[in-house]
């Protein structure tokens, strides 16, 4: 039998009380008040009878009552064998988390990690269970609890050791927050009465990502142990490519060089290497103090294939190579359907062709088709936008609608009333009559819906002023006749100006005027080009690919294929399963889809991994992580607390104290009855003491 509050057992000492009272009661009871003692002489008391206990039965009942009360208050319970698993030594569940991020590629670090992990395994008792997870930007399960439990006991540790040996450091960023949460979920998944423990072996570099940990409600029984491994040589510098948009020309690259805080080296060289051989002569020397970063221009890329920009003179080479894809502008075709000539300066076509210019990222071509064309040929991947400036033929409607349904944008500029038929045909609605609106001097745009993705880029006070654009003429229509249409802007006379009709995955934008000078000033306004680009962006891209990716990230591949595709990577050919549009690049390097030479991308080490100085423990402490006790004493206290919790639960289940209280109540009743009976029982014939007034 165990006790939850054993100190209450001391209350049992109160038994002494009744024993003493039963010894001395005789004196107090027989004290007799008498009028005067002047005729009496002192008589030596007879002590022989004083030490004799009176009313043994009553005394026993009283003692038993006190003992039972003390026992009840000390809350006894039986630790039965069913709850043996409650015993902390019986079985703890441990999740071993291995940091396999790119920074673990540093020399000697992985070996140390394995050593630490193996040490943790050695701490395991036979009844414990183990799961091993590794994490970089994703968390991977190396060994599950089920696998562990399925193995016969002597094979468990060796199997875990084998698993550890098979693991190796990867190239991704370290999302430790996610990994710890995954481990915690794993522990919480199935109810376990014993203690749970997460052991993280990591280099605790500054670039570690801890999102999700802040404010997480930790279950009480989970303990986190952080084992930090440190490399032999501290300090590291890394390079990264600045975003393309910030670059001025495609030949020289802007490189950001970051030197970590604990670095002792301040001078580095940048060079293009081929097959890891420094053959070029135009090296750039960069001076970066520890803990700072600097943007420098990379040396000119030598001609030929296979060059890699590399940082030299750094202690750890894992993040020193930068893979850069050759910059190929994305081809974009924009179609214009109208009968105007290219040199007609008052036509819509004239302004349209000048609105789109070729940039480094996009190579835009505007193709004009006369309305008499039977087929506009809109099936290519780079066909992105169609602008209709005149009445279309019936035969073109299906093609255009198919084009929209595939997720592209079409702009229908209603420059005359006669285009009503085209609108009706494209919208597949009832007749939508168009009338020439009466405009007094000019009309202005109002009630613009900046929430709509088309106008969202203008949703800032400095861009949202459309009042400088005057419209001399416009057509009016009743939007109620176009089911599902959304009015994005209206003229100040209330007529809709710009409407959006969703067809399939794409948009049919209807502008109730033209932008030629006869109709409006729109083409001359600063909003015109952004508006067209916004329309272009709304159409889904088929060939666009992020050219600079980080290892461990999921990369969205362009297009969709029903067949498995082959991807050429740094380790040879990789297969992308059929129907899959994403690819997880594990290793940095250059990747290209075999089907088209244009689709290639570079995968580099995440720049966060370059920040290798130790993350201060204060930052982790601030997250209120359930770190396990730092010394044995506190660990013992924690263990005791856990035991107390288990005991409390057992005690709550058994509730022996209730029965003891019932016994105590019965004893009280017995005592009362017995006491009354003994009192009433004539003892020696003496009457009760006289009352005194």
């Amino acid at each position: 039998m165990s006790f939850l509050a054993p100190l209450f057992l001391l209350g049992g000492l109160a038994i002494v009380g009744p024993v003493i009272f039963h010894l001395i009661r005789r004196n107090t009871k027989e004290k007799f008040s008498f009028s005067s003692l002047m005729f009496l002489r002192a008589d030596p008391p007879r002590v022989t009878r004083k030490s004799k206990l009176e009313d043994i039965l009553l005394l026993l009942v009283r003692c038993a009552l006190l003992a039972v009360m003390a026992l009840a208050f000390s809350r006894p319970f039986f630790r039965n064998n069913v709850n043996a698993s409650n015993d902390p030594s019986a079985g703890q569940r441990m999740v071993l988390l291995l940091d396999t991020s790119a920074s673990m590629q540093r020399k000697g670090l992985w070996e140390k990690t394995l050593e630490q992990a193996q040490d943790s395994l050695k701490e395991l008792e036979p009844a414990d269970s183990l799961a091993i997870l590794s994490f970089d930007s994703q968390t991977t399960s190396l060994m599950q609890f089920d696998q562990w439990e399925e193995l016969p006991e002597p094979n468990r540790i060796p199997a875990a050791m084998e698993t550890l040996k098979a693991a190796e450091a990867g190239w991704g960023g370290s999302r430790m927050g996610n990994a710890i949460l995954t481990a915690a979920e794993l522990l919480e998944e199935n109810e376990h009465l014993g203690p749970s423990r997460i052991v993280v072996v990591t280099d605790r570099q500054e670039g570690i990502q801890l999102e999700g940990l802040q404010g997480h409600e930790w279950p009480e029984d989970i303990q986190l142990t952080l084992k930090t491994v440190e490399p032999e040589t501290a300090g590291n510098a890394g390079i990264q490519l600045k975003p393309l948009q910030e670059m001025k020309d495609s030949v020289t690259h802007s490189i950001r060089l970051t030197n970590s805080e604990d670095s002792s080296n301040e001078e580095f060289r940048l060079a293009w290497l081929k097959n890891k051989q420094n053959t070029s002569t135009n090296n750039v020397t960069v001076y970066v103090p520890a803990g700072q970063s600097r943007t420098v221009k990379a040396p000119r890329r030598p001609t030929g294939e296979g060059w890699q920009l590399t940082l030299l003179d750094d202690a750890h080479p894992f993040d020193n190579t930068l893979h850069i894809t050759p910059l190929i502008p994305e081809p974009v075709r924009i179609h214009y359907l109208g009968n105007e000539q290219a040199d007609e300066t008052d036509s819509m076509r004239f302004y349209l062709e000048r609105a789109f210019s070729t940039t480094r990222l996009q190579h835009v071509r505007v193709l004009a088709h006369p309305t008499t064309t039977e087929s506009i040929q809109l099936s290519r991947n780079d066909d992105r936008l169609l602008i209709i400036g005149d009445t279309i033929k019936e035969s073109q409607v299906d093609e255009i609608r198919k084009f929209i349904e595939s997720g592209r944008s079409v702009l229908l500029a209603l420059k005359s009333e006669v285009m009503s038929g085209s609108l009706t045909a494209l919208a597949k609605s009832g007749p939508v009559p168009l009338t020439e609106a009466r405009v007094d001097k000019y009309a202005l745009l109002s009630q613009l819906d900046f929430e709509h993705p088309l106008l969202a880029p203008f949703n800032e006070p400095r861009f949202s002023d459309f009042t400088k654009i005057h419209f001399w003429k416009h057509r009016s229509l009743d939007p109620a006749r176009l089911p599902g249409v959304k009015v994005l802007a209206r003229f100040d006379d209330g007529d809709p100006a710009l409407l959006d009709l969703r067809i399939g995955r794409g948009h049919l934008f209807i502008l109730t005027c033209g932008w030629q000078p006869e109709d409006s000033q729109l083409a001359l306004a600063s909003k015109f080009v952004p508006l067209l680009y916004s329309m272009l962006e709304l159409g889904e891209s088929r060939g666009k690919l992020k050219s600079n990716c980080f290892a461990g990230e999921t990369i969205k591949l362009p297009g969709k294929s029903d067949q498995a595709r082959i991807l050429n990577g740094p380790d040879g050919k990789l297969e992308v399963p059929a129907g899959s549009t994403t690819f997880n690049a594990k290793k940095p390097g250059l990747y290209s889809l075999e089907e088209s030479q244009n689709v290639s991308f570079a995968v580099n080490v995440s720049p966060r991994e370059s920040k290798t100085s130790l993350l201060p423990m204060e930052r982790l402490d601030a997250l209120n992580l359930p770190f396990s006790a730092k010394n044995e004493q506190t660990e013992k206290i924690a263990q005791n607390r856990e035991q107390t919790l288990i005991d409390e639960q057992t005690e709550k289940r058994q509730k022996i104290w209730r029965w003891l209280i019932v016994i105590a109540i019965l004893l009280v009743l017995l005592e009362t009855w017995l006491g009354g009976w003994l009192w009433r029982k004539p003892s020696g014939g003496s009457e009760p003491a006289a009352e005194t007034t």
Binding site: E30, K31, F34, S36, L37, F39, D43, P44, G684, T693
Partner: protein, 312 residues
């Protein structure tokens, strides 16, 4: 009446137990006195009076105002008539309020009994038109009400008597001394006490009272248990006055106690006899009317004795 006589139930006209259950002291006194008056017709001792009036033959020097001319007209002799004031009795009740009076083995204490006795006497005397005063005391004087006979005075006496006994010790000397100083007219002094105090003091002070010409009666109130001392088990005796504890085994102490108690009582009696005071031991289970009639009888006997002595 012998003091050591066992406390056998004395039959009186009124049951003491019933009487003591009545709360009002005045009502108790009235019942006793009325019962006494009723019974007096059958009593062989009728015709007496506490008041003693006399005619005295005129001697030269007496105030001629006091000559009773009606008697002169009838008998042709000069007789002096006493003033009514002089013939009336002035009685002072001296009641012991010390804590030893709180003891009682019946349902009432000695103090209660003493109060009832005092109230009965006061009522009885008041009925006869005598002036009654009260002096209650313990180790010092508690209350003093001068002897008067006027409406409401009796009520005042009763109120004073109803106060509980609280004094720590009995000191008879002081109140007696004081009453001698306060009362200069001759009268009756009734001392109601258990006399549980050194007897020497009593002698000296009672002597002064009798010397001052007062008629003195001593009622000694005793509890039956004080007289019999019939305890069986050894007890720790607690003195209510001195707060002392004493372990007593009655088996061995009883004889000694009874001896010493009797000595004390005898001493008190002899002192009273020597001084010509009435000494009446009263046990608290004794009917009050009987006590009253005993007293009156004793007085009458004493009167006859004096007369006899005078005749001799």
């Amino acid at each position: 009446m012998p003091e050591a006589e066992p406390s056998a139930k004395r039959q009186g006209l009124i049951d003491t137990r019933t009487l003591m259950q009545i709360r009002s002291l005045e009502l108790r006194a009235r019942i006793v006195v009325q019962g006494f008056w009723n019974g007096i017709h059958r009593s062989p001792y009728h015709g007496f009076s506490v008041e003693f009036s006399e005619y005295r033959q005129y001697v030269p020097g007496d105030d001629p105002r006091y000559v009773d001319w009606r008697v002169y007209a009838r008998s042709d002799r000069y007789y002096i008539k006493k003033f009514e004031d002089e013939t009336n009795l002035r009685c002072h009740l001296l009641v012991d309020q010390s804590r030893s009076m709180t003891f009682g083995s019946n349902n009432w204490s000695k103090a209660e009994y003493a109060h009832t006795l005092a109230a009965t006497l006061a009522y009885f005397l008041f009925q006869q038109g005598d002036a009654v005063g009260l002096l209650s005391f313990d180790e010092k004087i508690r209350d003093y009400i001068p002897a008067r006979n006027r409406p409401g005075h009796l009520r005042q006496l009763m109120l004073s008597l109803e106060k509980p006994a609280a004094g720590k010790a009995t000191s008879i000397a002081k109140p007696l001394q004081r009453i001698v100083e306060l009362v200069n007219k001759r009268g009756l002094m009734v001392l109601i006490s258990d006399l549980l105090a050194p007897i020497e003091e009593l002698e000296a002070k009672l002597g002064r009272l009798t010397a001052a010409g007062h008629d003195v009666a001593v009622f000694r109130i005793l509890d039956p248990r004080e007289i019999d001392f019939d305890f069986e088990d050894a007890l720790l005796f607690h003195d209510v006055e001195s707060e002392k504890d004493l372990f007593i085994d009655p088996a061995s102490a009883k004889r000694n106690y009874l001896e010493r108690f009797k000595e004390h009582g005898d001493a008190a009696r002899s002192v009273c006899q020597k001084l010509g005071a009435d000494y009446l031991p009263v046990i608290t289970d004794e009917p009050l009317d009987q006590v009253l009639s005993n007293y009156l009888r004793q007085r009458q006997l004493r009167g006859k004795k004096i007369q006899r002595h005078a005749n001799l």
